[in-house]
């Protein structure tokens, strides 16, 4: 079939390169923000690392912008390839800052941390989080907010790009292709607006909780800001090695749950509710499935933990069992249990339920990862339709529909698309698990960690650490990247490269 696809032109590379330059400029600007934190906390010694990361980003961006300048508009293939490459380029410059700040023990670890941040995963290889400079810690959390929370690629194109077309297409590349409104600039503003609103609400709530729980105002505000950024982005980084256990606080966990659930809901739903359609929450198929699945996983995990008698009270079952279920389902990765306990003391059924939650994920067009509830819903509806069809007379035609902001007929094309993504996801999950097992880890741990990396979750069975093999770090970097792009963009990028190699690049 390759002969049917037209060969690549030099102009194709220019379109992609020129769009990437915007990402580089924005990354360069964003890397300057931690400098403010460094100045406030008198961490002057780490400022050069941010400056160099920022300078490298701007330098690279200006070269791309000059040498690959073009006025031609993007097509879908360019947008998808650009998104796939951008999710590697943007973390690269942030990793330079992490590395120069001596925040991580090797460059590979710095890249791992940066990719984990940008993709909103939350797995960490930082050696000593409790002693990191506050500005570096801020950068870790900020990357999750801009990378996953508000989608840096769309924002960069809509702010810095020339037209809206490129942004609409980039939106497709980022797998958020059911736009809220026809105007992408307006859409971007809405996404940023929603993100900033929940950031303010979350920071305020965490600050109040922090003051109530014995933190001073400065610490409560700073840590509240960081936790809000990663909570809403369903990222899962925290400023301390104990994760949320550090705070020993029911109220911190309640605020975290609110942000995680809000972040896992579809942007379309936020927009509909903000527009006065409050009933949408109860009618939306995706939300109904998410809440039902959360209820099922949370209840089963709690019941399982109660059965084995691991926790002494209903409060403990909620703060450990239900919290971890919500954290897994929303693909956040906040942890209130030590990884060792999760893998070696929790019953296998509970761990497998968490794996299922991580693989299925939150809503489409949200900050969460995984296969996504919209696709799960379509596949379930399709299954029901097939069963009904089998029971009906041969001549009968069974149709299906679902409500997702508006009533939508379920077409075969939709089901095929959902099935393709789900299947690709499960294949990558299996390959990732096999590779992890091949490195000498147990099957249960391997499934858990792979689901966490691929679903951009961040819960850890303890495998992810600075001491894990370098090859496994590289594999998890790939899985986090593929998971963030919902896999298809990777295939398109691979096709693009193969096409270039086989047919060459025409002038």
């Amino acid at each position: 079939m390759l002969f049917l696809i037209p060969p690549l032109e030099k102009e194709d590379l220019k379109i992609i390169g020129h769009s990437l330059s915007n990402i580089c400029y924005l990354s360069g600007a964003l890397l300057l923000l931690p400098i403010i934190v460094a100045v406030v906390y008198e961490e002057f010694d780490v400022i050069p690392s941010f400056l160099i990361g920022s300078a490298a980003s701007i330098f690279f961006g200006s070269l791309l912008s000059f040498f690959l300048y073009t006025k031609r508009e993007m097509e879908v293939k360019h947008a998808v390839v650009m998104a796939a490459v951008a999710w590697l380029v943007a973390p690269f410059f942030a990793s330079v800052s992490f590395w120069l700040a001596n925040a991580l023990s090797s460059y590979l670890d710095a890249l791992f941390e940066s990719v984990s941040g940008f993709t909103g995963t939350g797995l960490t290889v930082a050696v000593n989080i409790d002693h990191l400079p506050r500005s570096v810690n801020f950068l870790r959390h900020f990357l999750q907010f801009v990378g996953d929370g508000i989608g840096i690629i769309v924002i960069s194109l809509s702010i810095l790009g020339k037209t809206e077309i490129s942004s609409v297409l980039a939106f497709k590349g980022e797998a958020k292709d059911t736009g809220i409104r026809p105007s992408i600039v307006r859409t971007s503003r809405i996404i940023v607006g929603i993100g900033l609103t929940f950031l303010i609400i979350g920071t305020s709530l965490f600050t109040i909780a922090g003051l109530k729980e014995g933190l001073d105002f400065g610490t409560a505000f700073f840590e509240g800001l960081n936790l809000s950024m990663t909570g809403y982005a369903t990222g899962g980084f925290t400023p301390h090695s104990q994760n949320l256990l550090y705070y020993h606080s029911f109220w911190f966990e309640v605020v975290a749950i609110i942000l995680m659930v809000v972040g896992a809901l579809n942007f379309n739903l936020h927009y509909a509710v903000l527009g006065g359609k409050r009933g949408e929450i109860l009618k939306n198929m995706e939300v109904k499935i998410l809440l039902l699945w959360l209820l099922v996983v949370g209840s089963l995990v709690s019941a399982n933990l109660l059965f084995v008698g691991l926790y002494p009270s209903s409060e403990a079952l909620f703060r450990k069992g239900v919290f971890q279920a919500i954290s897994a389902q929303t693909t956040t990765g906040f942890q209130t249990v030590y990884p060792y306990h999760l893998m070696f003391m929790w019953p296998v059924l509970s761990v497998l339920l968490l794996v299922a939650a991580m693989v299925s994920g939150g809503c489409a067009n949200s900050t969460s990862g995984g296969i996504k509830m919209l696709r799960v819903g379509m596949l379930l509806k399709s299954l029901v339709r097939e069963i009904r069809q089998a029971l009906m007379p041969k001549s009968a035609v069974v149709t299906g529909s679902f409500h997702h902001v508006e009533d939508t007929p379920l077409t075969d094309k939709m089901v095929r698309g959902a099935a393709t993504i789900a299947l690709s996801y499960l294949i990558l999950f299996s390959i990732g698990t096999l590779i992890t097992v091949g490195h000498g880890y147990g099957l249960e741990d391997s499934m858990f960690e792979t689901a966490s990396a691929l679903g951009n979750v961040g819960l850890s069975s303890g495998i992810t650490s600075p001491l894990m093999p370098a090859t496994l770090k590289a594999v998890y970097i790939f899985l986090m990247w593929a998971g963030r792009l919902e896999i298809m963009a990777i295939f398109v990028l691979a096709g693009f490269i193969i096409l270039g190699l086989r047919k060459g690049i025409k002038e």
């Binding site: 400056l51 920022s54 300078a55 490298a56 330098f59 912008s65 090695s241 104990q242 020993h248 003391m345």
Partner: protein, 169 residues
Amino acid sequence: MSKKIFSFAFFAICILLSTSAVGAESGKTLVENSANFDGKTVVLRGEVIGVMERGDFAWVNVLDGEVAIGVWVRNEDARKISFVGDYRHVGDLVEVVGTFHMACPEHGGDLDIHADKFTVLTVGRELDRPLNMPLALLSVALAAGAITLALYLRHVRREREKMVPVPSY
């Protein structure tokens, strides 16, 4: 490796050595053998990385170099702490003798230690974090260079766009 990493590694080794002293358990041992230690009196030594007062008591998070554990102590003990460990400080090195809970019924199932005895072994200190001047100068030069290059290339591109193409005959 930089001085920072070296000093951190040295400090971590000191803490690990102190926890391996007779009677003290490492945080990792406690977490990985929680069921065996549940309800028993244990000794933990480590650096203070967090203090949060809650009424008459306080949570003190103690890091033994590898794993941090929350310790529930009386306020008067928590107030003995001078330094909390972070980037600019080495926290006080403390020794806790108390009851270990794998899932504390009083604290929502948290793994914790309720301290009976809390001793500050070594008072922490402020860390000097000097600016690396050559790196600082290099970073400023690179930043200035990158911005200049971006502006210059933008100018050249605009000038090129203004040029009217010569018609070919």
